[in-house]
Amino acid sequence: MPNQVVHVIDDDADVRQSLAFLLSTAGLAVRVHDSATSFLQVLPEVHDGCVVTDIRMPGMDGLQLQRRLAELKPGLPVIVITGHGDVALAVDAMKAGAIDFIEKPFDDETLLTAIRAALARDARDSAREAQLAAIRTRLQALSEREREVLQGLVSGKANKVIAYNLGISARTVEVYRANVMTKMQADSLSELVRMVLSVGDAS
């Protein structure tokens, strides 16, 4: 995905800049942040990409940041780098869902491999998220009556039953059903059901 940005968070300016240099030579878009707090401030503008954060920083540390991100932007992949390769810290970071835990100084390929994996995961998630967003938009475009028919279809009711429940004719239900299929861009009933279930809500 072309809009992906690697966000580097490290309180050491030299490490931060050298990372930005390295990653940009590898063709990646980079933004640097000098603290967890300053990154959280711009978080609303962060969309696609991943995070590379140091653990030991004054104020909020890398692990705390990781936990905050899990609440605020779940799915944004995090890679943790540290000058202190403590086993316990690594375990904590991985348990909290880090993609990787890398000790400084590191081989560039080690970091780049981790970053590429993170971006791939983020892209997958983003694509999926985009799909879900599209389905939600389509659902919203349905009329009240169409939504009622859709609910009936998703709960596996036959046209006649839906017609009876809504107090309309079976033919009318068929018309609504065709409209729903078109608006939802579904090729089959099963696809329609899958779409609705994927967003977890038919209303």
Binding site: D14, V15, S18, A26, D86, L89, K104, P105, F106, D108
Partner: protein, 407 residues
């Protein structure tokens, strides 16, 4: 068993006869004498303290049952002998002279004052004891009663305390070394990381360039980057060597750890009028810890807390508390009622070489953090609502859900 020999009984007799003479005949006097003797005998038999009565020549007249047990002599074998058999050389030789000096000058060195001296048992072994001497005068005769408290246990406690202290001191030196190595590793790793990143980035750029020189440069830059990594590995190994050292995590009782550490750290706290309160959660019992390292953390935090309160006049309250968390961690807090932390100090509190003390390396809290983090816990500080500072740290419990393989 304790048979007061004649002179002591005579002293009693004198007292008894003074009270009753004149109003009673000789048989009444004899009765009073007998009663007084029986009274003294029963006192000597039952008094829980070690008690010895001597005459003005220093000869033992009687001793309590406790004194018999303490020194290993029986009344019968020691009555009439000089008190100096109960003390080791050189006091043994000097004792008679002490008594002489007192009797002729009246200058008190021990009488009514009490001091710590060394006693000697029948088997020749010696022990520390606290001795108070009272004088008993009846007519021309002097008697002296010695009250003895065996200090062996107390001294044992003190030597145990010293032992603990030296363990922790040794450990803190050791950890200070580890912390130096660790800090050094961190500080050097940062520039090494930057060097390696720049070189590797440059190597990538050179890959896109043409020509023989570009190839040579690419090769040289790549090799330079490898050297930076190599330096990093050396430092990492040094750090592992120092920090892994003797650290051994076992299942320990947290209340016991706190008790030992506070005994150590609170030496002298009462003199500074610090009121100490413990609020220990019974659920927070067994933890996975290196005993000496965690004691070191506690001693550091408690000492810091006491030092923070020395300068304030308000009531000095120290509270040590534990709380069991639901996530397999227990939280230990050490709270003081000191002046609190200045903003800029609070920010770098756990960084090495941060200190507010005139003499101090500023490694204490940094070491605490290294230890706590190596234990899989976290350490932090915040302000106490009523003023003062609270330090918190967490430890993993050993009770359940213990993970194999990462200790």
């Amino acid at each position: 068993m304790a048979r007061p020999s004649q002179p002591a009984a005579t002293a009693e007799l004198t007292a008894a006869s003074e009270a009753s003479v004149g109003s009673a005949g000789p048989s009444a006097i004899a009765q009073a004498l007998e009663a007084a003797e029986a009274r003294l005998r029963s006192i000597m038999q039952t008094v829980p303290d070690a008690m010895i009565i001597i005459d003005d020549k220093g000869c033992i007249e009687s001793l309590s049952a406790t004194a018999e047990r303490l020194f290993g002599y029986e009344q019968g074998e020691i009555a009439g002998r000089s008190i100096n058999v109960l003390m080791p050389t050189p006091y043994r030789e000097q004792h008679d002279a002490y008594m002489q000096r007192y009797l002729s000058t009246g200058e008190r060195r021990i009488i009514g004052i009490g001091r710590i001296v060394v006693g000697q048992r029948k088997d020749g072994s010696t022990f520390p004891m606290h001795l108070t001497v009272c004088e008993l005068r009846s007519g021309e005769r002097h008697h002296f009663t010695g009250f003895i408290r065996d200090l062996t246990d107390q001294q044992l406690t003190e030597s145990r305390l010293k032992e603990l202290q030296s363990e922790v001191t040794h450990m803190s030196r050791y950890t200070a070394l580890g912390e130096m190595a660790s800090t050094l590793a961190h500080e050097i790793n940062q520039p090494l990381t930057a060097i390696s990143n720049y070189l590797k980035g440059t190597q990538r750029l050179l890959q896109r360039m043409q020509g023989d020189d570009a190839a040579i440069l690419r090769d040289a830059v790549g090799k330079a980057a490898d050297q930076a990594l190599r330096a990093g590995h050396i430092i990492r190994r040094l750090r592992e060597f120092v920090s892994r050292g003797e650290s051994e995590r076992l299942i320990e009782s947290l209340p016991k750890l706190i008790e030992d550490a506070s005994t150590l750290a609170l030496v002298g706290a009462r003199e500074n009028a610090v009121a100490v309160a413990f609020r220990l959660d019974p659920q927070a019992n067994l933890v996975l810890a290196d005993r000496i390292q965690i004691q070191q953390v506690l001693v550091n935090l408690i000492r810091n807390a006491i030092e923070a309160m020395i300068e304030v006049e308000t009531p000095r309250r120290l509270e040590i508390a534990t709380v069991a968390g639901s996530d397999g961690l227990v939280e230990v807090t050490v709270a003081d009622s000191g002046a609190g932390l200045a903003q800029e100090v609070a920010r770098n509190l756990f960084q090495p070489f941060t200190t507010t003390k005139r003499k101090g390396m500023g490694l204490g809290l940094s070491i605490c953090r290294t230890i706590v983090e190596a234990h899989g816990g976290r350490i932090w500080a915040d302000a106490r609502p009523a003023g003062g500072t609270v330090f918190h740290f967490t430890l993993r419990t050993a009770a359940e859900g213990e993970e194999a393989g990462d200790a």
